[in-house]
Symmetry: C2
């Protein structure tokens, strides 16, 4: 849908980074006036809800520089160019948790922050986990602790805001709704 | 929690915009190596799930320049400096929908994209809506269409990805879980 489309008059690339690009566009509004739009370009991301055979959820705790603290999240990572989300999902699961999965089910996808960023997050779930005999190495600038939690434990961490991000809060609500069926 | 803390060696401000700031930090990793972190500073945002007396949900459709399309979302807006989230919530509800609310209940809060941004989203719900006799004007660069939908209609839009963002997908899952109680 292109309702209330804002046409670009001018587009200025401000920053071209490793993860994000920043661009500022001058646009024409539906009433003919102009405005500036600040846009973050992001390759997109994928997250997995990994459920173990004894019905625990695998989380990772890592330091998030933008928040200046560590939080507990479901495993996730950004899409490489041209990569299918399912491939990213398995790769990030393997690198971050030491588990692999023989199959994934799609849960949902959403733009994380459509007011200023184009990041699209894909969420998958799997209960087909296998411990890898030879775990693969992850990014060398990622430091991660693995936690396997029951849903009740995860809800407690959410209450304490140690779980506190969109994909993970969504995942817990999703599992909660599943449990109520 | 400061687990795996990344200490800032150098911080460079790249862009200071109307909605976001971009900063690039050089950090020391737990293993002593260094890395760059690209950080978006955002004032935070608030969203409301507004439920009418006939049990419909009030949504707004607007063009989102980062996505180059319009999507259907629950009413939301960014926090002004020093403003309480509840105050922002009522203001955005009034400006975007023409409804006001005598009370709000807190649902959840989450970081939308903790890998690169510090945006914290607060979500509230209310079924205490009143049509305003003299609607207030919103931002003069916002063009919005109001939709009142049943939960089933909203789920259909979600299926079609016309609803497709973190806070709104979360809201629909939240109402779905409520309905199953």
């Amino acid at each position: 849908m292109k309702k209330f489309e804002e046409k670009t008059i001018k587009s200025e690339k401000i920053y071209n980074g490793k993860m994000i690009q920043l661009q500022v566009d001058d646009v024409t509004l539906p009433n003919g006036k102009t405005a500036k739009r600040e846009l973050i370009k992001h390759p997109g991301a994928v997250a997995v809800i990994p459920i173990t055979k004894d019905n625990k959820i695998v989380f990772v705790e890592q330091f998030r520089k933008p928040l200046e603290k560590s939080i507990i999240e479901i495993p996730a990572g950004k899409l490489e160019e041209g990569e299918e989300p399912e491939v990213t999902a398995i790769r990030e699961l393997e690198e971050e948790t030491g588990y692999t999965a023989s199959s994934l089910s799609f849960v949902s996808s959403f733009y994380t922050s459509p007011g200023f960023a184009d990041e699209l997050m894909y969420i998958y779930i799997t209960d087909q986990l296998e411990k890898m005999e030879n775990p693969v190495a992850g990014d060398d600038d990622e430091f991660i602790e693995i936690l396997e939690l029951t849903l009740d434990e995860a809800k407690q961490y959410l209450e304490e805001e140690r779980i506190h991000d969109a994909k993970t809060n969504y995942a817990i609500l999703y599992l909660h709704a599943l449990e109520m069926r």
